[in-house]
């Protein structure tokens, strides 16, 4: 479809996305090394070292989603050019999500593998890849409603890294409902992540449809 092709081209020609993907992968490699090194010194940093680095570098995927979505609204009024070229809004939102997912998948796979393979957790790689991709989509949906990168980043990072852990510490039952549970407890968090992502995407699409450009 033309719309998906256009959205793919947009994402591929945004330098900040490439940089973010690279930094995220590099950070994951670094943390994986840190975990492995700690194990080698006999001071393991905790169980599940296959996925632990991803708990941190998932932030990179949040940022990826935020940057992709807010590029329409910041640094130039691109959203207008987009809506003039592709005025039907729901198909546009769908195409955006598809394009982002398509480009995030390989990055997520590489990042997930960097974390899981050295620790012998190959089996977790597909799930981790899916989780990281969904995280980017969720972030993009939220950011397209907020329309500015910094506030969207503050909200998402705040939820995942400040509010989330607090809620978890306070009530273990809430763990099942938070979007990032899958990062810590892969067998249980899948439903939550999928539900959050789908809801965010739907809500964002509806807001986008009705809003003035």
């Amino acid at each position: 479809m033309n719309t998906v092709r256009a959205e793919l081209r947009k994402l591929l020609t945004l330098p900040s996305l490439r940089r973010t993907a690279l930094l995220t992968w590099a950070a994951t490699a670094l943390l994986t090394y840190a975990y492995a090194s700690a194990e080698a010194h006999g001071e393991p940093l905790g169980d599940d070292t296959a996925l632990a680095p991803l708990g941190y570098t998932q932030a990179g995927f949040l940022v990826l989603g935020v940057l992709a979505a807010t590029s329409e609204y910041q640094d130039g009024d691109q959203i207008r050019a987009t809506l003039l070229a592709m005025p039907r809004r729901l198909p546009l939102q769908a195409a955006k999500a598809l394009a982002l997912a398509a480009l995030t998948l390989p990055v997520a796979a590489a990042t997930a593998a960097t974390s899981t393979l050295p620790a012998g957790g190959v089996a977790w790689t597909p799930v981790a890849t899916a989780y990281l991709t969904l995280t980017a989509l969720l972030a993009a949906a939220v950011a397209s409603a907020v329309r500015r990168a910094l506030p969207a980043a503050i909200a998402l990072l705040g939820l995942y890294f400040v509010a989330g852990p607090l809620l978890r510490a306070g009530s273990s039952a809430s763990a099942a409902y938070l979007p990032d549970t899958a990062a810590l407890d892969p067998s249980h968090g899948a439903a939550a992540t999928i539900a959050w992502t789908l809801s965010a995407l739907t809500l964002a699409a509806l807001i986008f449809r009705r809003r003035d450009a």
Partner: protein
């Protein structure tokens, strides 16, 4: 052919357009004239499907913008700025727009040549001067070789050579049978190019008709304009 029919719009509880009605016909340049804040841009945004009116319809060739398939092949719009993200190169910008409407990539290079930006194709849009940004915006509007052109203050930011070029370009477009609608508040310019004129003030269409009709008994279009949109006691704003 552009048909605006009884369009009304409210924004943040303020009424900004009241029953705006006019036409822009093919083969003619229609000038959309009005003071700042009169509602020109608001009307054009509704015409282009960017905003929604509370009532009324704005149709291009009988259809609303959002219902057009591959709209850029029917309508080319130039609004303020270039619409390009500042980190993207001019060429990359044109190429994604071309892809969105199924247009060949070669069109990007062709329109860059038309507006004289071939040398700046690989420059990032954020480094463009005001004039260059407008030309990139125009290039984007021309990608689909549309039969309708909608331009908001097109000569804003252009140098004298650019203004002359634009004048010739718009007149030629109309002569080729295209529908050209442009908004402006440069009377002298408009008097040179327009065949028909629509005057809008405070959200209402004050008058519309051919250039001769609107100028009426006044010496120039400018005199007619000020007579029609006389402001209340106070300054020029």
């Amino acid at each position: 052919m552009i048909t605006i029919d009884h369009v009304s719009k409210t924004k943040s509880r303020t009424r900004i357009l009241y029953d705006v009605t006019f036409e822009a016909r093919p083969g003619r340049v229609t000038g959309f004239l009005g003071p700042n804040g009169a509602g020109k841009t608001s009307t054009l945004r509704i015409l282009l499907g960017l905003d929604s009116p509370q009532s009324g319809t704005a149709l291009i060739c009988g259809r609303p913008y959002r219902k057009l398939d591959r709209p850029l092949t029917t309508v080319g719009a130039l609004l303020d700025g270039s619409g390009a993200h500042r980190a993207r190169t001019a060429r990359a910008h044109l190429r994604w727009v071309a892809a969105s409407n199924g247009l060949p990539d070669s069109r990007a290079d062709e329109v860059l040549e038309t507006v004289g930006l071939t040398g700046d194709a690989r420059k990032r849009a954020g480094r463009f001067s005001l004039g260059m940004s407008r030309r990139l915006g125009l290039a984007t509007a021309l990608l689909g070789d549309p039969e309708v052109l909608v331009l908001d203050e097109p000569v804003n930011g252009l140098d004298p050579a650019g203004i002359r070029w634009m004048r010739g370009f718009l007149r030629d477009s109309a002569a080729q049978g295209r529908t050209v609608l442009l908004s402006s508040h440069l009377m002298g310019e408009l008097a040179e190019i327009a065949d028909d004129v629509v005057v809008i003030d405070k959200g209402r269409v004050v008058t519309h008709g051919s250039l001769a009709d609107v100028t009426g008994g006044h010496r120039t279009l400018e005199d007619a304009f000020f007579a029609l949109t006389a402001t209340e006691a106070g300054g020029p704003w």
